[in-house]
Amino acid sequence: MSFWNEKYECMSRDEMRKVQSERLIKTVNRVYNNVPTYRKKMDEKGILPGDIKSVDDLKHLPFTYKQDLRDTYPFGLFAVPMSEIVRIHASSGTTGKKTVVGYTKEDLEVWSEVIARTFTGAGLTKESFLQVSYGYGLFTGGLGAHYGGEKVGATVIPTSSGNTKLQLSLMQDFGTTHIACTPSYALYLAEEMEELGIKRSDLKLQAGIFGAEPWSESMRKEIEDRLKIKAIDIYGLSEVIGPGVACECEYQNGMHIPEDHFIPEIIDPDTEEVLPEGSKGEIVFTTVTKEGLPLIRYRTKDLSSLNYERCECGRTEVRMSKVTGRTDDMLIIRGVNVFPSQVESVLLSIGETAPHYMLVVDRKDNLDTLEIQVELSTAMFSDEVKKLEDIERKITKEVQSTLGISAKVRLVEPKSIQRSEGKAKRVIDKRVL
């Protein structure tokens, strides 16, 4: 059994609460004094930093929403001067304004630390070769995993995403032992290996750390069977820090959260009440060590639950269950966040009114597929096939350029998409998770 930071990973619950309380108080002071948005939010609730005496008082603090990041774009929630920010990442901004996150030197240390913990839990050591096949760039996946791997002391191979043949040949030549990528890419690698006749014995792969998209237990089993590796689930979101907000240990039974950095709560998304241990609800995070962009009670919109029992691995850190859904209608398709409203605005740009539409998500050959069904209106209709195909092409192209994913557009007859009396149902997700 190996730990990266045994002191914190195996701390008693009481000690952990003490650490969290001290750090929370500091963070609340920092945001109250340095971030106008937080000062305003706390003033409105009539809470002063001095009212927060321990982690028990967390529930009195205001929530932070993604919208707060957008409203203060780009740097408005930062709690340090820009001279101390050494790195910036950003979301693709497909749902409107980009959200920007900034890191101080110390924040990058924390990030590497939490990933080093998770990678160690997955079996990574100084002797390991880690291939990072997450995209490098504004997306936090690539660089996050990269620095974490270096922190452990492994030999990091920064292949980034794509160019699968090269990835596979490097994997053979360098003796890659660990890979970090999306689970669907792992399966794609398995297929390519079979295609190219690369035998499992040509590879030294031991484990993979997979995240950035939802995946199922059956998918885990498939990856493990086909690649003959241990498949470890990692969770993260750039607002909190990036990958490494939670990760499984070798027992693969819930993802440990480094609670000395990120305090999780489960709330009822409607009443906003904190739910008792074990309940399923929206997971909310408070960062207590971040300097650049500390977030108080950040609403992730992800549905999960928390398990505080000591894990078989010996860690006392709480474990969060796999995310089972969202409180909003966001879809993750091939790692890209897609909101039906984005498709709606594309459709609006085609005609004068947005037609009824439905997104049908499926998974074929382990890759997500998206079909956009669009009800053809009289105004859009033409008696020429060519003109209707032009409409399909135009929508496909617009979706590709605004959302960054390829979709199949299918024109359907009016009223053929089911109407609902309440909130319109825009998504049929056929993926089995």
Partner: protein, 145 residues
């Protein structure tokens, strides 16, 4: 001189065409000619009927996406070269055809050809000048009767 054609959008799923014909029948509308252009996902049904306005209303009342377009109906000799002769005239006059389909009437040795062009009025003039026999809508409708 132009003929009104009804076009209907159809998804490629079973029963849709039957639904259209049922709707027309129950409204006492006669189909004189039809053609279907299809892709993998959808088709466009083009119809010449005796009561185009009624047909358009009946179909759209039944939830179909319908449009009405002006097309030209001409008569060509029902023998080899009959159609080629007309097409040459159109080509010589730089009139491009969006689509066309033919059907045979109940009398005589003429075939009827429906032409859809960008500018039907211009095409009509050209064809008349070249002595191509244009069939007015009334004639199309009663010919089938």
């Amino acid at each position: 001189m132009l003929v009104q054609q009804i076009s209907v959008f159809l998804e490629n799923k079973s029963g849709r065409l039957a639904e259209v014909t049922r709707t027309l029948a129950s409204n006492n509308i006669d189909i004189c000619a039809l053609s279907i252009a299809d892709t993998t996902d959808f088709g466009i049904l083009r119809l010449i009927v005796n009561k185009p306005q009624d047909a358009e209303k009946a179909l759209s009342d039944n939830g179909f996406t319908v449009s009405c377009t002006d097309v030209i109906a001409i008569a060509v000799e029902d023998k080899p070269g009959g159609l080629a002769f007309v097409l040459e005239i159109l080509q010589d006059n730089a009139i491009s055809i969006e689509y066309m389909y033919a059907f045979v009437g109940k009398t005589g040795n003429e075939a009827f050809v429906i032409l859809r062009v960008e500018n039907p009025e211009d095409a009509l003039r050209t064809l008349t000048n070249c002595d191509i026999k244009i069939i007015p809508s009334e004639k199309i409708y009663c010919n089938v009767k």
